[in-house]
């Protein structure tokens, strides 16, 4: 029999391309978590007293909390005492000075990941903060951004150089007590990026942070804080990857965005943590709290995420719409293949008058994966004239995968308008055959169909990264054809 059946399952195998390990001497604290470890981290970072106390308060609260289990994901219990909470490449324990001081092995690592740190290199219009395990190893274009008054630096530097801004804004959107993982992060966070855009400034370039987990048996707990002062604009992108390992590694980050009056923050994520192998062994547990507050009138926060990696994703980038006429947006493509589990979505909290939110979620499930959209649209009594539009589409690519939608709507103001649309479809053998009959290869056909499905989200990404995201999607769904 010559006409071979085209098994869609065989098209969606996965090859992880960023799974290498950099062989570098690290300063890693022994596994375990207690107040001494937190004091040690704080001391290593040369933190002021208020921050140490803030961490300890978070830690003590965390001890009273229980791991959340309401998400549609399953995993073996995490032993929080088996994780090392601090690991830094040795040469860098004092923080990077200039690119010339950065270990060539680290530069080579980022080069290999497609994120060259030399300022003349490919991403000419993009400033990069490179975070390796627990520390930032390099930040590019600092001077040029400085001329515009923009602060873009490792979180550790911000602690020393801008303590007043930090004290004012840190934890003001995601309090230390917010949830189990946010509390843990608040206690042990090590580095991350800090951004401040002054009044009326349009940030002259894209800002981006590339997170890399390298050391084994560690967790990455970074913290990002972006403050857009009145009338300012910024577009920020984060990328991430990790080596292939058989054990699960925990990534529990917190991202806080604050948009003041008339400010505009666009936050894009291309998440490519190691997803585990085709049998579901290994991979990153990505338990992340991301929230932005449109604090001022007419402000806007837009989240765009392309989630292809991680064994488990638990993340709900949200907007608190406090300012009048403020706008929150969430555009998401979440791909789950093999035994990956994704439970992701957003919360839009309407507080101010005439606030608007848009949610577009595209979930793609393949192999034995489970992909859930979970979203909350909450309109408070004060949110006169609030509007929300939600669109949730799921694409199934195999017989064994699942797509689930959990939309929650709470409306406390009768003038609000809330719309929800949802579809679930199977990638059509008909669509695939149509493309093959026009001469496309199976891989190209699958990519084309999936890209078409994701189009409304991809067009929200900054141009440089839209191509990257499309390629990543292709890799995530690539398989041995023929």
């Amino acid at each position: 029999m010559a006409t071979k059946p085209q098994d869609l399952d065989s098209l969606v195998g996965q090859q992880y391309r960023h799974g290498f390990v950099t062989d570098i001497d690290s300063d890693t604290v022994p596994p375990g978590l207690n107040e001494d470890v937190i004091r040690l981290i704080s001391r290593k970072k040369g933190e002021p007293e208020f921050l140490l106390n803030w961490r300890l308060v978070a830690y003590r609260h965390w001890l009273t909390m229980r791991e959340p289990h309401w998400a549609h994901v399953r995993y073996a219990p995490i032993d929080y005492q088996a994780i090392s909470y601090y690991s830094a490449p040795k040469a860098n324990t004092d923080g990077p000075k200039s690119l010339a001081d950065v270990d060539p092995k680290l530069l080579a690592t980022y080069e290999k990941l497609g994120v060259p740190l030399h300022e003349r290199a490919r991403l000419a219009g993009v400033a990069v903060d490179a975070v390796f395990d627990s520390v930032s190893v390099a930040t590019t274009f600092k001077e040029r951004l400085g001329e515009a008054g923009v602060i873009f630096c490792p979180f550790s530097d911000a602690v020393r150089e801008h303590p007043a801004l930090l004290e004012q804004y840190l934890g003001s959107v995601v309090p230390t007590t917010d949830n189990f993982y946010a509390a843990l992060n608040s206690a042990v966070f090590t580095d991350g990026s800090f951004v401040y855009i002054p009044k009326g400034v349009r940030c002259p370039m894209e800002l981006s942070t590339y997170f890399r987990i390298n050391a084994a048996k560690t967790g990455q707990f970074e913290r990002t804080l972006i403050i857009a002062d009145e009338g300012s604009h910024v577009s920020y992108l984060e990328g991430c990857s990790a080596p292939m390992r058989d054990e699960n590694q925990l990534h529990a980050a917190v991202v806080e965005l604050i948009a003041l009056r008339d400010a505009n923050i666009k936050y894009s994520t291309v998440q490519n943590w190691y997803p585990g192998d085709e049998n579901g062994v290994g991979g990153i547990f990505n338990f992340v709290t991301k929230r932005g507050e449109c604090r001022g009138a007419n402000s806007r926060i837009s989240w765009t995420q392309v989630e292809t990696g991680s064994a488990i994703t638990w993340k709900y980038p949200s907007c608190v719409l406090t300012g009048e006429n403020s706008v929150g947006e969430f555009y998401s493509v979440a791909v789950a293949n093999n035994y990956q589990q994704a439970d992701t979505g957003t919360k839009m909290i309407h507080i101010g008058r005439n606030t608007k939110s848009t949610i577009v979620s595209k979930g793609i499930s393949a192999g034995h994966a489970q992909n859930s959209y979970r979203g909350l649209v909450k309109v408070l009594p004060s949110a006169e004239g609030a509007r929300n539009y939600t669109q949730c589409d799921s694409l199934l690519m195999s017989e064994h995968c699942g797509a689930h939608t959990f939309p929650y709507v709470e409306v406390k103001n009768p003038t609000a308008t809330v719309e929800h649309e949802a579809t679930t479809s199977r990638i059509g053998e008909d669509q695939l055959f149509y493309c093959l009959q026009r001469g496309l290869s199976q891989e190209d056909a699958v990519n084309m169909i999936v890209s078409g499905f994701c189009k409304t989200v991809f067009k929200e990404l900054p141009m440089e990264f839209a191509v990257e995201a499309q390629n990543l999607l292709a890799v995530s769904l690539e398989g041995a054809v023929g």
Partner: protein, 260 residues
């Protein structure tokens, strides 16, 4: 017809039998199509006409149980569907599928370049391609908005069929199989589609029309007409056979065949 016997034998089907989920759909089908010819395959509903078209294009739903198919001398059934397409076999679908978010032009350019690579020709760039496709769109009386729309997305039945023929005129296949291209078309659209097909008639190309009705054959004149029923070709003739079928239906062909 004698001169065409000298031309290349493009498609040769010998004693083809196939089934889908254990049910026989083709049973001992023979057919020869030479370059330069237009064939019409007619027959009652459920006779296996669409099965034949889809099977030739490589649809995996059908299991071949007997016989062979040669396309330009090669074993067609051993080729993957995309291989068949790149070698110039085109299927105009009876029900063209919608692919949301994928631009018409994007798919068509990828298709053309896949074919050109196979032919050892350089790929066309976006600019050349746009010029080419605009010419063909004029022929098919399609307006520019088509360029920015998704593949068959929100198209009416007639627009979908027109799009199939547009794709065919761009891809310039060696063997075009058009499955019920006339169904769902009003008379004006039928003429446009027929013009598109006629514009492709050439000495080195063959066209196989799968149809229920004689009316398409008033606009595209076939060299050979075949009656497919019960999974095989029961009768073949020239264009007058189509007229006779229109007048008398299909039953007499079946009786004649079972008597023989």
């Amino acid at each position: 017809m004698t001169d065409t016997n000298q031309s290349e034998l493009l498609l040769e089907i010998k004693d083809l039998a196939a089934e889908v989920q254990g049910r026989k759909v083709l049973d001992g089908l023979n057919l020869e199509v030479r370059a330069g010819e237009v064939h019409a395959i007619m027959g009652p509903n459920g006779a296996g006409k669409s099965t034949l078209a889809q099977l030739l294009a490589g649809r995996s739903t059908y299991k071949v149980t007997r016989g062979e198919v040669r396309y330009r001398g090669a074993d067609l059934l051993s080729l993957a569907p995309e291989e068949r397409a790149r070698r110039g076999l085109f299927l105009g679908f009876q029900y063209p599928v919608e692919i949301p978010g994928v631009n018409n032009v994007y798919l068509l350019k990828a298709a053309l370049n896949a074919r050109r690579r196979e032919q050892g020709l350089p790929e066309v760039d976006a600019f050349e391609f746009l010029g080419l496709v605009r010419d063909k769109m004029r022929l098919m009386q399609m307006d520019d908005s088509f360029l920015s729309r998704g593949v068959n997305e929100g198209f009416s039945g007639g627009e979908k069929k027109r799009n199939e023929i547009l794709q065919m005129t761009v891809l310039e296949p060696t063997l075009a199989i058009l499955d019920e291209t006339d169904s769902g078309l009003d008379i004006d659209a039928l003429k446009v589609v027929a013009n598109g097909v006629n514009s492709l008639k050439r000495a080195d190309r063959a066209i196989v029309l799968v149809t229920h009705y004689q009316r398409l054959l008033e606009h595209i004149i076939p060299d050979r007409v075949h009656v497919l029923a019960a999974g095989r070709i029961l009768k073949s003739g020239d264009k007058s056979l189509a007229l006779e079928l229109e007048r008398r239906g299909y039953d007499w062909v079946r009786h004649e065949a079972s008597a023989a």
